[in-house]
């Protein structure tokens, strides 16, 4: 009895020690920074082996019956509500930042542009997937028309929705406004489109009306919805918490190709 008790105590003690060591490890800034280096390996490797590769496209028969809306599905922000009420009649998409000629497009302008339609798979970071059909102009030609400056390195998508959530790691403040960013390889990728149409219908509010990004070789959180402004930058270090996106500021990888 005594032996059993002692043994079980040792067992519980060893288990507890293991768990608390794991906690120390997962909370260690140094250890986390170290393991985060694997992200550069993933990014470098995927850019090396598949720089221009296209994401797989599917047929209409493969489309998910219900495409799960995720993240913000009905933004409460006043400006956005006003646009919804006005049917996006006064809404404008701005393309600016490090460009020679900033562009401003109404929804009608956006819809009048040559568009690409693609049926692709959307992979959420959580693990679920959905296949959807998207239509919209490619981002690349619009950036060319705006005259991207040679100093531009990233394209940032500013969104209308404030997703809120946890604030501040390391003292910096995040407003909670959704934003995302990609490199120029993805920005000029043929499947990177500003989707205004989903399965032949105008994009609904739950899926990001009036337009959302499709960046088909990355995870769902890169597919910014409610896009209001597309900005070319040389760095996003001064933006929000400096990691290049809403979820990136909360610990997720900037390169979401994995």
């Amino acid at each position: 009895m005594t032996v059993l008790t002692r043994r079980s105590l040792i067992g519980v003690g060893a288990g507890g020690l293991l768990l608390s060591s794991c906690d120390k490890l997962s909370n260690s800034v140094g250890a986390n920074d170290f393991v985060a280096k694997a992200q550069s390996a993933t990014y470098g490797w995927q850019r090396l082996v598949g720089r221009q590769a296209l994401a797989q496209e599917f047929t209409a028969a493969d489309i998910s019956p219900v495409f799960k809306p995720n993240g913000s599905t009905n933004p409460k922000d006043d400006d956005y509500r006003r646009h919804v009420d006005e049917g996006f009649a006064n809404w404008k998409l701005k393309i600016d930042g490090l460009v020679r000629k900033p562009i401003s497009l109404s929804l009608a302008d956006l819809r009048a542009l040559p568009a690409r339609t693609q049926i692709t798979r959307h992979d959420c970071v959580e693990g679920w997937s959905a296949i959807g059909q998207w239509t919209g102009p490619q981002l690349g030609p619009l950036l060319k028309a705006a005259g991207l400056l040679p100093t531009a390195k990233y394209i940032v998508f500013h969104c209308a929705d404030n997703y809120g959530g946890e604030i501040s790691k390391g003292g910096a403040q995040s407003t909670g406004r959704y934003y995302e960013s990609i490199d120029l390889i993805d920005a000029f990728h043929p499947q990177t489109i500003i989707a205004h149409t989903m399965r032949g219908q105008p994009l609904d509010v739950a899926h990001g009306a009036p337009c959302r990004m499709r960046i088909e070789r990355q995870l769902g959180y890169k597919q910014a919805k409610y896009v209001m402004r597309i900005e070319a930058v040389d760095s996003f270090a001064k933006m929000e918490l400096g990691k290049g996106g809403y979820w990136e500021d909360r610990g997720y990888e900037w390169y979401a190709g994995i």
Partner: protein
Amino acid sequence: MASVADTPPSQPLADTVVAPPPGRVYYRHRVVTRICHWINVLCIGFLIASGLNIFNAHPALYWGQYGANNDDARRWFEIGASSKADGTPIGMTRVGPVTVNTTGILGLAKGTDGQQLAQGFPEWATFPTNRDLATARRWHFFFAWLFILNGLTYLIYGLVTRHLQDDVWPRLKQLAPANIWHDIVEHAKLKFPRGENDKEYHILQRLAYAGTVFVILPLMVLTGLSMSPGFDAAAHGFLPQLFGGRSSARSIHFIVMDLTIAFIIVHVAMVVLSGPIHQLRSMITGWYDTGKERRP
């Protein structure tokens, strides 16, 4: 009784005590094999624990190209919490048509703070212990890279030195049903080959090791890569179509994780039952003591 002081100072105590007669000890594991083995232990430990944390973000599995909350027909596995008629919360796990009450282990279990917590796998099994998808992914991918580089080192080294062909790959004559059956019976009686018969892996060992090295772990890597949208594009649709789609690949990734855990349980049990000291020593120093011949 000899005291410690009687031991010649030039000889470490442990060697004096256990040094077996010549012929019984042979060099079984080369240094590269041993280093790869222990790096693999570290990698798989972190990969499973962080993988379970990742799984908790969406504790359900599907067959096919896609699968999400509304795709009931495609969902074949799920862990969740619900409540009994009287309101008592319970943890539930469903595999196909079978739903099991798994309260205390899956779906609903005590967290590290002692409070009941509704989540897929319990906190004691995940890394980090608290549910944290971003951190779990960071650690998972770090160890995935290390696991792949370590595994490639092991495979290339093992092929070049013929370790894999000679020592791990099942020999044709060992595959005779009578031999396999004999080995199963001996294992069931916990009688393991010793002496001269223990100088090479027997058939059950070879099947377990070869199955893990050539089937389970490569499947783990390929199904893992299939979940990467960037890698899928680079692979021009070969992955994940090889597995019938991304959601299928995710399911298979989970199944081979279960098989890996089964392997680890059996492997560790065999080490413990067949003599943990000489087994562990050989994977640390390389030298394996075959022990005394067993009388038939």
